[in-house]
């Protein structure tokens, strides 16, 4: 789903787009600054700083804009290569541009030998030394620039990943469907049973507090169970006897740490896609087991007959999200943290497993 689209194949490529007008402007600016630095720093070949600056900027502008033009043209091709190949390719192109411009400058100099140009000594004298020196400088500067582009692209990529993780966490949150149904239930209860309505409002507040906290942080198993039970109480008001939840989790170490909102969305799924669709409701089983190393949690719910083969997109997304967050929470233990989904005899079974991590270990 997050694969780059065909229309913008290079959005993830590390080289920026040199065809843009703003980029040309930036290059001119940088070139001028560099030219000033060079002219200031070097012991004047001749007395006139301005002539020196003019020559240097002239030369560097040709190099800078030439490089930009070449990269602008070559970018689509480079974008299709691996990072190493693209970097080498770009480097060769840039050195080529430097070499060509240097050579052209020297040739122009020898063509114009004599007259004012010679008098001002604005053209280089030693052919090979001039060209090779420039190529060496070009090689170093291009390498540094490419390295810079690569690092900044990586940095941008990391930020994007972080943002995506945040979105995943957001998506794990409660369905709007549930919110509005709960509001409706509470509206009904305020008429018939204000005391229960009051409790429902408190439960809803707790649930949303848990939901609005950062879903990337870890909480204890006990806290996660509490959130799921609050959710269950609210749904119970709405669905009545149709909803039965059977908890068999007493053998689990309640101080185990896990990413928040892992179990509650599973219970929500079981109700949304299972219990709620069954005219007579059904039972959700939440079972846990612990073998001293890792914890297994299993949520089982009956499915309506016509849903048994169909895989729901929304459901799939929610489950993928949980699986991804589990795997991200224990990246070093891909074998032991994860999710397994199966169907058996009209029952939908989601199994989670993750290593037992007591609080002290995560407080690093």
């Amino acid at each position: 789903m997050n694969a780059p689209r065909r229309t913008e194949p290079d959005s993830s490529f590390f080289l920026p787009d040199f065809c843009a007008g703003s980029m040309a402007l930036a290059i001119v600016l940088i070139v001028e600054l560099v030219a000033i630095v060079i002219s200031l720093g070097r012991q004047a070949i001749h007395d006139n700083f301005w002539v020196d600056l003019a020559c240097t900027s002239m030369f560097l502008l040709w190099v800078g804009l030439g490089c930009a033009m070449v990269l602008c043209r070559a970018r689509p091709k480079l974008a299709r290569m691996s990072v190493v190949h693209a970097s080498l390719g770009a480097l060769l192109l840039l050195i080529g541009v430097v070499g060509i411009v240097s050579e052209a400058t020297f040739q122009l100099g020898s063509y114009l030998s004599g007259g004012l140009a010679a008098e001002l000594e604005i053209f280089p004298e030693h052919h090979a030394a001039f060209v090779f020196r420039n190529i060496a400088i070009g090689f170093i500067v291009s390498s540094l620039a490419l390295r810079y582009f690569y690092v900044s692209a990586e940095w941008k990529h990391t930020i994007e990943l972080e943002a995506r993780a945040r979105i995943h966490a957001l998506q794990a949150r409660i369905r709007p469907h549930f919110l509005f149904n709960s509001m409706n239930t509470i509206a009904a209860l305020t008429r018939s049973n204000p005391a229960v309505a009051e409790e429902a409002v408190q439960d809803l507040a707790d649930l949303f507090r848990a939901n609005l906290s950062d879903a990337r942080q870890r909480i204890s198993l006990r806290e996660e169970f509490d959130v799921a039970k609050v959710y269950q109480r609210i749904e119970q008001l709405r669905l009545g006897a149709r909803l039965q939840v059977n908890w068999r989790v007493d053998s689990l170490p309640m101080d185990a740490q896990l990413p928040s909102l892992i179990l509650q969305p599973l219970l929500e799924n079981a109700i949304y896609h299972g219990i709620e669709r069954l005219p007579n409701g059904g039972q959700v089983d939440i079972e846990g087991s612990y073998d001293g190393v890792s914890i297994r949690l299993q949520v089982t719910n009956p499915l309506p007959v016509n849903e048994r083969t169909a895989e729901h997109n929304g459901n799939k997304l929610a489950l993928d999200n949980i699986a991804q967050r589990l795997e991200l929470a224990w990246p070093e233990a891909l074998q032991t943290a994860g999710m397994n989904i199966s169907q058996d005899n009209g029952q939908y079974i989601v199994q989670l497993r993750f290593p037992y991590t007591p609080r002290s270990h995560t407080a690093s």
Binding site: M183, N184, T185, L237, R277, P279, P304
Partner: protein, 243 residues
């Protein structure tokens, strides 16, 4: 006004009943907790208006409304929904009455005042607009005053004669009041047109035979029926069965 409340959640029904009691001129003549009960209640109680929850177990609210529309004295329908995603936009576009839960009393009063029958084409249009990709789970036959629901999964084939379409299914045959073409479009995924006048469930096809004249016939599972395949539809049929 005589109203029927259809919702699978008891607090929701309770609240509607309470509000309708306060509106005056509104009499709740019954409640139903699912789509099937709702259809029976409509046929026997003949309400003026049905307040119909969209998301219910079993028959979906929109499908209930489609079946209701076939009744001669079809009631007006007002949909109620907590959060309807695409369905809401489609209702809006088709000017189909709906209320968002928790329902406001003023909006309920206004909806009742303007409640109207919803025609099948408009509902179909709404489901298409919503891109719900929903085809009915039942077809509906009328028996005197009752609606009889036939699970589409039980249908062997639909056969058209001059005026009616006969549904041949596991528990017999019934007449329904829908053109074969519409049925073919709606159930395109599981049914194949084999003749101008026959639409056959793919999963019940036992075999295809060809006689000396090149005429194809389809044999169906569980029944002894053999149906003629027209020359025009033979190619498509063979492609689908073999493909």
């Amino acid at each position: 006004m005589r109203l029927l409340i259809v919702d699978d959640e008891s607090p929701a029904r309770e609240r509607l009943r309470g509000m309708l009691g306060e509106l005056g001129d509104c009499e709740v003549i019954g409640e139903a907790t699912n789509g099937n009960d709702a259809l029976h209640a409509c046929a026997t109680l003949k309400p003026d208006i049905v307040l119909l929850d969209v998301r219910m177990p079993g028959l979906w609210g929109i499908e209930v409304a489609q079946h209701l529309a076939t009744l001669e004295e079809a009631p007006a329908v007002i949909f109620t929904t907590a959060y309807g995603d695409h369905a809401i936009e489609a209702f809006d576009a088709q000017a189909i009455g709906y209320l968002l839960k928790p329902i406001r009393k003023e909006k309920l009063a206004r909806a009742i005042k303007h409640a109207a029958r919803i025609s099948t084409p408009r509902l179909m249009q709404a489901t298409r607009t919503a891109n719900l990709d929903h085809c009915r789970e039942y077809v509906c036959a009328k028996l005197a005053d009752q609606l009889k629901l036939i699970p589409v999964a039980d249908v062997y084939y639909f056969a058209a004669d001059q005026k009616y379409v006969t549904v041949h299914h596991k528990n017999g045959e019934d007449l329904i009041d829908e053109p074969l073409k519409d049925l073919g479009d709606e159930f395109a995924a599981g049914f194949i047109r084999i003749h101008r006048n026959a639409l056959v469930a793919e999963k019940y096809i036992a075999g295809i035979e060809r006689d000396a004249d090149g005429q194809y016939t389809v044999r169906l599972r569980e029944t002894a029926v053999a149906l003629q395949v027209s020359r025009r539809h033979a190619g498509e049929l063979l492609r689908r069965i073999r493909g």
